[in-house]
Symmetry: C2
Subunit: 384 residues, 2 copies
């Protein structure tokens, strides 16, 4: 399947112009970003260098015009390949002044009053806390204020070019799940299964598989997030696999359940209920509906089967530059769904003590309802 | 090669007791950690769940006794598999109070005065900035103070069990580099080479390859950090590959250079100088020597060849739970080397405009000098 990498410059211009419109409304003179995903979202710059915690990177969106990068010297050549042309560098590492005075001078040249920085849910400041304080004091009268709403509202709604990347990664992970019987058998451990699945997803063309889980247990797994262990799987085990793979920066995040050799009636019933809750969740998705409404529709189906949610705390979430993003499909999230959002529909519950059933599909919110982009799980639990 | 995962509980007890000794000296009542590496370092808990930015996780080290975890409900079962038994959970997601009141109450029960949190170089607070403020105000008279020195000094010096993991990952990446001629040829693009190398390192047993770079250019690459492109490599190109692979949480980080078809005299000379600087750097490593002394030894060799450092800003660094950690081998870092540190020895320079030569090996600081754990690069640039 052909796959087009990157974006035309117009895509970044559109993002920046939308941000600048919201900045004006929020009376911010500039926006400051410092995490990998936000830096990449506005600049197009991609690098594994974010793995190294030594050096911070900063991207500024002024009230008008293109973003300005304030970065360590090592990144200059790479960043100049992007659409950004104002790249200001400092000789790094320099723990005594790790870009702070250059950053503060740049911001003070652009802002008299307020600089927006994401400070709310699902964000963090990727720089030492001491440097946050140094920046705050260097900025003098210029205040840092919360800009979470701006990036949240922009990133939640995907362009068709972004959607194409989501579709691509969902398609190849669907292929991997549908052929997993050729690679998984009784006697393999969770760790061996996870390693084989990761290699398969990469061999099919994913760039990375940062989130991957394979857990199993007799008649059901007890956990959706732990690392794999080395116990060989036996007939009667249920295997849970969850995959957050990525291509060109965009994620899928959906899971599958498999029975080894045979499935008990309790497992089949639990699978059936989660399957129906997923169907209901998918059917509830459309623009104008709230995240909590989709949650309620799924919770009602689970309750009708005598089940309640487990420790996961929600039944789905946004997917984008992370495997999980805003919004959350939960009782208290009143985010209104919009055309172009990507959601993981993820109902789950404990069907017996220590036995969890969790299903998950990825959809696009479209004008006429959900468009499924993961290929729907089998109607009955597959037996490997 | 057999590989033992995890650590006996005594390893974690030792880490915690050392931290508690330093806490007493620094007059801290508790330590608070929230990044993946520090949570794992003291708890042994491993999960890919850190990929999701939705929920913070907190680990507290009290003045005495075992760490206390304050975590989202979804993590309870997984965390109880670790040596930690005091696991306090909140129903998460809950953006209005994402664990902050539970965390503040727990800390106030342990501390009257000062809670240490890493706030210095190479650290960050993995929680929303608004929540940092809410925590600070909830703590009342209890102050958050910088504990970077405690984790820095602990993590920089590795136990023999940690060293065994570093050796293992260095060995298998050395194998991958030494056999790369079977997978790389003219006509392949950087992107294809990177993908093939990643698959090979994983197939050899690495858990993940979070940091990986493959860049090429005529007679030399111009960049050590950018993403790969799709230009087919030609005879006369020089290919640079850098690999930060990981097993059981511990990294290697070393690079290699290859010529495609033939190498120019300028490239051979540049390779020779970097090779000799690396030898000199390795020979300079011993306990008691400072990071800046090792840098100076390498800088002198490069200067004797007419070269100066480029934009990288240093000539090596620590390696551990990240591909790069404290200290930095640079003029201003006076960290005294100790037995048990793992270092990347990494001299580099621009040998012509737009042409960079960067070598890198990984060593253990031992009582009698450096023990090489990457297998030394070939003396002359390999021609593929």
């Amino acid at each position: 399947m052909s796959f087009e990498r990157g974006f035309p410059v117009s895509e970044f211009e559109t993002r920046v112009q939308k941000a600048q419109g919201m900045m004006r409304d929020a009376k911010m003179d500039a926006l400051l970003f410092m995490t990998e995903r936000e830096f990449t979202y506005f600049s197009g710059f991609q690098s594994n260098f974010w793995q190294s915690p030594t050096r911070p990177w900063f991207l500024i969106i002024p009230a008008q015009g293109k973003p300005i990068a304030v970065i360590p010297s090592i990144g200059e050549n790479a960043l100049l390949l992007s659409w950004i042309d104002d790249v200001r560098i400092w000789a790094s590492p320099n723990p005594q002044d790790e870009g702070i005075s250059l950053l503060a001078d740049t911001l003070k040249g652009l802002a008299n009053n307020r600089v927006g920085v994401p400070m709310g849910a699902e964000t963090h400041m990727r720089m030492p806390a001491n440097d946050v304080e140094m920046l705050r004091s260097s900025l003098g009268a210029v205040q840092m204020v919360d800009a979470t709403d701006i990036v949240r509202s922009l990133r939640m709604v995907k362009s068709e070019r972004e959607i194409a990347k989501h579709k691509h990664i969902c398609g190849l992970v669907s292929d991997a799940y549908e052929t997993i019987g050729a690679r998984v058998r009784a006697g393999m451990s969770e760790r061996e299964i996870l390693a084989a699945h990761r290699l398969d997803v990469l061999a099919r063309g994913a760039d990375t598989v940062p989130y991957i889980v394979a857990t199993a247990g007799v008649d059901g797994t007890d956990d959706a997030i732990r690392f794999p262990n080395d116990r060989p799987l036996n007939v009667g085990d249920v295997l849970f696999i969850d995959t957050g793979a990525e291509i060109d920066g965009y994620y899928c995040d959906f899971d599958r359940n498999f029975a080894i050799g045979r499935a008990s009636d309790a497992t089949k019933r639990a699978y059936d209920l989660a399957y129906r809750a997923t169907d209901t969740g998918i059917a509830a998705v459309r623009p104008g509906v709230r995240a909590c409404d989709v949650w309620q529709a799924m919770a009602d189906v689970l309750a009708s089967g005598g089940a309640q949610g487990g420790g996961v705390g929600r039944m789905g979430h946004g997917v984008g530059l992370h495997n999980t993003e805003w919004p959350s499909l939960m009782a208290t999230d009143r985010t209104v769904l919009q055309d172009g959002m990507i959601l993981a529909i993820e109902p789950g519950y404990d069907f017996a003590p220590g036995k969890m059933m969790l299903h998950e599909e990825n959809v696009i919110v479209r004008a006429d309802g959900a468009e499924l982009i993961s290929r729907r799980a089998p109607r009955d639990i597959p037996i490997l």
